[in-house]
């Protein structure tokens, strides 16, 4: 599989802004570590690892946006928020980003704070807020769950992409002048399409898991189960 860099690489955003966002990311991750420890039990630990591996794999699906030379990709934030909750979910995405930066050279090590802020902090926070809201509003059916998963993924991808535009405005190493709104537009439109793809993948995955093992979906734990959980299917799902 051809792999291409997708995260902000070294030298795109200047040092001071990168340092500020590194501090923000560090503080947010410290909070997630504290809250995540309470969540991580024997059921969630392997799930967190699998969610991270899954995100790692889907982030390899990369869509170059050649009009502006920026590329976009699936983020997996909504999937993580759905299955392992916001705290452990943010840690999963952060772990993926750290490993990609350290050993694959994908996303500069000095830019990790920016990437973590966009994808692990903003992406997950937005996704979880949308999930919490929609699960209360929509009927507790599989259709409701799948709409929740789809919308939260779509919204979180677009908002996370806007995080990059904001960072570029604050500390882009080259002043694009009026072209910045062009960059914002390209990022928004392209990530709208990516968000649709991400929404479909998130919805199918979450609905399949919720049908067979509803106990594994973190977002459903907070709610009272509408129906008693069916016994887990033996010997896999096929």
């Amino acid at each position: 599989m051809e792999t291409l860099a997708m995260h902000i690489s070294n030298g795109i955003i200047n040092g001071p802004v990168a340092a500020v966002f590194a501090a923000i990311a560090l503080a947010a991750m410290a909070l997630c570590v504290l809250r995540g420890r309470q969540d991580l039990d024997d059921r969630l630990a392997p799930m967190a690892g699998l969610v991270a591996a899954f995100i790692f794999a889907v982030q390899m699906l990369n869509f170059p946006i050649f009009t502006a030379g920026v590329s976009g990709h699936l983020l997996g934030g909504a999937l993580a928020a759905m299955l392992v909750g916001p705290w452990v979910g943010a840690l999963c995405v952060a772990v993926v980003l750290v490993v990609q930066a350290l050993v694959f050279g994908d996303g500069g090590v000095a830019m990790l704070g920016l990437n973590i802020t966009n994808m692990a902090v903003i992406g997950i926070a937005v996704a979880y807020l949308v999930i919490a809201l929609l699960l209360r509003v929509l009927p507790r059916t599989m259709a409701g769950l799948s709409i929740t998963a789809f919308v939260s993924a779509l919204v979180s991808v677009v908002v996370a992409a806007m995080g990059f535009v904001l960072q570029y405005q604050l500390g882009g190493t080259t002043d694009l002048g009026g072209n910045l709104s062009g960059l914002a537009g390209t990022m928004a439109v392209s990530h709208l399409f990516i968000g649709v793809g991400e929404g479909l993948i998130t919805a199918t995955t979450v609905v399949t898991v919720a049908k067979v093992r509803p106990d594994l979906v973190y977002a459903l734990r907070a709610l009272k189960p509408a129906t008693p959980a069916p016994a887990p299917a033996l010997g896999g799902v096929r």
Partner: protein
């Protein structure tokens, strides 16, 4: 799973760089990258000096140039972004071969290509000389919170599970008369993504429970046994690269 959990980028040779403990390599790599990023982009010579440092480490680690260059293509999207900058940038412009280019944009493009490439080289050298298992041991020794190293351990372990399940499901589809070709296999794959996730989870859960029943407490044995941690001498050896890079960066800042 392969012995030692080697990954695709790991180069199986013996060298002084391979023998260094992982924590010093990670620390050196991060410090080097920060020095590179902190360098003002007008100091062209400094980037030449960094490149020499990278080449020296690559020679020591017995990583050949062709592999390094081939793997650097991961950076391509950002190079494309960089090429667009001289046309999009504002401010003072120069004419090069009939094209009106922004000076700020040209420097910006150089900045992205130079710093990006050096960063990618540094992480490729780390990847080439460190197994994933060592990487996690190194992160743990650098006091990375246990919850993070635990997620990272499972992520790297389950990647193999995920790839294996995907392959088994593909074989199952083909043997039932599916004819996957080019893009059309995406449909079959998309329909099975949820099933893939569940199957991988159930297999992964069994792996996890097996580890628990054999005494796994959340850390790798190599860490709590404390064997092979870096000595002061090894820290000093590995520090040479970031210290030299830091000196170059400081000189560049003073000169510009």
């Amino acid at each position: 799973m392969a012995a030692g959990h080697a990954h695709v980028l790991y180069r199986e040779v013996d060298s002084p760089v391979h023998r260094l403990p992982p924590e010093v390599k990670i620390a050196a790599m991060v410090a080097f990258t920060i020095a590179v990023v902190a360098t003002p982009r007008e100091a062209l010579w400094a980037f030449g000096a960094y490149a020499l440092l990278v080449v020296a480490v690559a020679v020591l680690a017995r990583v050949n140039a062709r592999w390094l260059l081939l793997r650097s293509t991961i950076e391509l999207p950002f190079v494309v972004f960089a090429v667009a900058l001289p046309f999009l940038g504002v401010g003072e412009r120069v004419d090069v071969a009939g094209l009106s280019l922004s000076v700020d944009g040209l420097y910006g493009a150089w900045n992205i290509v130079a710093k990006g490439t050096l960063g990618v080289w540094a992480s490729l050298l780390l990847a080439a000389s460190t197994t994933t298992r060592d990487l996690i041991v190194g992160l743990d020794r650098l006091r990375c919170p246990q919850i993070l190293t635990q997620i990272a351990t499972f992520m790297l372990r389950y990647l193999d599970v995920l790839v294996g399940e995907a392959r088994r499901m593909r074989v199952a589809r083909i043997s039932r008369g599916d004819d996957p070709r080019f893009v059309w296999q995406l449909r079959g794959f998309a329909a099975g993504v949820g099933a893939l996730f569940l199957r991988a989870f159930e297999r992964g859960e069994r792996v996890y429970l097996a580890m628990l029943s054999r005494g796994y407490t959340g850390r790798m044995p190599a860490v709590w046994q404390g064997a092979g941690a870096a000595t002061t001498g090894q820290w000093l050896v590995a520090a040479t690269v970031p210290v030299l890079a830091g000196a170059v960066a400081a000189t560049a800042v003073v000169l510009t």
